[in-house]
């Protein structure tokens, strides 16, 4: 089976170390459509045409921060590089904060949704609203964290498959 080469260069597959000739090569090729759609969702979530209040460099910095919080260094480094060098890109470091009220509230929210989503309550949404974040931007921000939860787990799973013993 020939697979679109883009699959092997997609962020998740490339970061996992999985290869075409590895133990999971055929399985990955069999789900090429899903991995291509995964890359399309990364583009939509991290580089959308209408980013609202969260610009692209902030989104990729948050993606890097979330990957780091989840122990996924390969992904964290990749997104950190995409974020470039700006005031926002420094927020990729999980210990970094912002003096901007909305961004500072967003960071608290992002860190908690990324690592302890079960503890999120209605009050956490009210905190964002009180910091001046519009409802549409709350949804946009939640999509970034939610997509990254998928991406770090997919990449970790692909890495396990790449090391699988037959």
């Amino acid at each position: 089976m020939t697979t679109n080469p883009d699959v092997w260069h997609s962020t998740a597959v490339a970061s996992s170390g999985a290869t075409q000739n590895g133990p999971a090569g055929a399985a990955i090729a069999g789900r090429a459509n899903i991995l291509e759609m995964t890359q399309a969702t990364e583009d939509a979530v991290l580089r959308p045409a209408d980013p609202g209040t969260w610009p692209h460099d902030l989104r990729t910095a948050l993606a890097s921060r979330i990957a780091r919080l989840n122990g996924s260094d390969a992904l964290a480094n990749k997104y950190r590089e995409m974020s470039g060098t700006s005031a926002h890109s420094a927020l990729a470091d999980p210990s970094a904060n912002s003096s901007n009220k909305a961004i500072s509230a967003a960071l608290v929210f992002v860190d908690q949704v990324a690592t302890q989503p079960k503890d999120i309550s209605a009050d956490d949404i009210k905190v964002l609203q009180a910091a001046g974040v519009a409802d549409a931007d709350i949804v946009r921000l939640t999509e970034v964290v939610a997509f990254m939860a998928y991406q770090v787990r997919l990449t970790a799973g692909l890495a396990l498959l790449a090391e699988m013993k037959s």
């Binding site: 899903i34 949804v139 939860a149």
Partner: protein, 193 residues
Amino acid sequence: MSDVLHKFTKTVPHWRPRVEPVDLKTATDEQLDALQVTPSNTKVSEYVLVLAHDPQSLKVRSPLFNAIMYDAGGLSRSERELGAIGASMVNRCIYCAAVHASRHVQIEKDDTVIDQIFANGENADLSPRDRAIFDFAIALSKSPSQAGPKEMSALQEAGLDASEILDLVLSSALFGWANRLMHVLGDPVRKAV
């Protein structure tokens, strides 16, 4: 609010948004396109109307979701649901757990597995194959690094091949995403009778 549900249930609750959903009357063309609203299809859930605030993400996520849960081959439908349920329990998404528990019951025409899981959580009494699948989904959902070679070997010993394991990774990971939308942006509440 007192009507919010905190316990896992097979009865699908009502989902009450914590942010204002998009109003169909004032929705943009891009939002209507992502919502797939047509003259013959004007019934859209509040959840999807909330997600329509970010139409570009909504539009690409729906086909991805369907491919991961329903594409032919690989892991069985009910075993993909088990991955989704494991994730939803770790993330305490009562709504997602209810929807996918009821699908599991529907496919299996039996609720023994779901009753076990909801009664005993991680200590549920399961067949070796369901045990390995559920344990892997729980570990990957808690933290990606918790799913390791030990959990992988258990899957292989239970008879899963690489394609089936990839489908389990995908369905469990997908619910890391879905749970963070559903559980974060709204509350599960009792359906009005």
